[in-house]
Amino acid sequence: MKLEQLQQRLLAAARLHKPGDRVPYAFEKRILARLTATPRMDYGSLWARALWRAAAPCVALALLLGAWSFIGTNNTATSESEVLSQHFEQIMLAAVDDSEEAW
């Protein structure tokens, strides 16, 4: 049997058949009713969607900060910025240190 010929015959049969274009009664009214209906706010799903969207950037940020702190602790050379940050921390916590000594 010639498959090519069978395929052409079947496709010719399909071409002869035009699907109906009947539209259900009041279809346009139904669509319009759906379009004009006021959407109800679902706060739960809004929150869930926002949290899911925030999850990936948060994980990426955590990994980035983790890597940064890991690389930072491995670097033993004392740079000028580290000295500055230590001074800044001492000054910031000076009041707390004093109060601890007083007690």
């Binding site: 049997m1 010639k2 498959l3 090519e4 010929q5 069978l6 395929q7 015959r9 079947l10 496709l11 010719a12 049969a13 399909a14 071409r15 002869l16 058949h17 035009k18 699907p19 109906g20 274009d21 009947r22 539209v23 259900p24 279809f27 346009e28 009214k29 139904r30 669509i31 319009l32 759906r34 379009l35 004009t36």
Partner: protein
């Protein structure tokens, strides 16, 4: 006085949803006829048409008015039908032993004398529907658009959003896929 399509679309974009109704009335027959090419159950056809119109309303802002509204809507319809096909891929494997008597008769007539089997027969139409249902979604879409609706490759490219070479590749694969199904069907029946 009857408003033009451009005026209706402008009114919808300004927030007057009721101006969408004449567009739905005018183009729904084409949307339904297209959907009936891909879905067999009337409930599914209606779901597709409903989705097309809801999407059309939501995306109306992206309609630039350079091409007719009907072309834009048909692109949306074809893509919605494709999504439907991809979402309903199950049950594609049907046994050819389940062919109806009339389908069997038509095939037998074709085998004994290809010219004696009429093109304009319900059995041939049912048989081709059965074969189309077994094709993969891209194959079914491209066979329907290219071979049944007789669109050009360029038109299919515009309708589907696929590139011209991709349409050609998918058409080639679709014909091969269809022949494979036919080979299996005739092997089941006549070997």
């Amino acid at each position: 006085m009857e408003r033009t399509e451009a005026e209706l679309i402008a009114a919808v974009l300004k927030g007057d949803a009721t101006s969408f109704e004449p567009l739905i009335l005018k183009y729904s027959p084409r949307v339904f006829a297209t959907a009936r090419r891909y879905a067999r159950l009337e409930r599914e056809v209606e779901d597709i048409a409903q989705e097309v119109w809801l999407k059309a309303f939501q995306k109306l802002g992206s309609f630039r008015g350079e091409a007719p509204f009907e072309h834009w809507l048909m692109r949306l319809t074809v893509r919605t039908c494709y999504d439907f096909l991809r979402g309903h891929q199950r049950n594609r494997e049907a046994a050819f032993s389940e062919l109806s008597d009339s389908e069997n008769d038509w095939l037998e007539r074709f085998v004994t004398g290809p010219d004696s089997a009429s093109d304009n027969a319900d059995a041939a139409r049912l048989l081709v529907e059965r074969i189309l249902e077994q094709l993969s979604p891209p194959a079914r879409l491209v066979i329907t658009l290219l071979e049944i609706e007789e669109h050009s490759v360029k038109e299919i490219s515009k309708l589907t959003g696929w590139s011209v070479p991709l349409v050609k590749v998918r058409a080639f694969r679709a014909r091969a896929e269809m022949r494979k199904i036919l080979a299996r069907m005739t092997k089941d029946k006549y070997l």
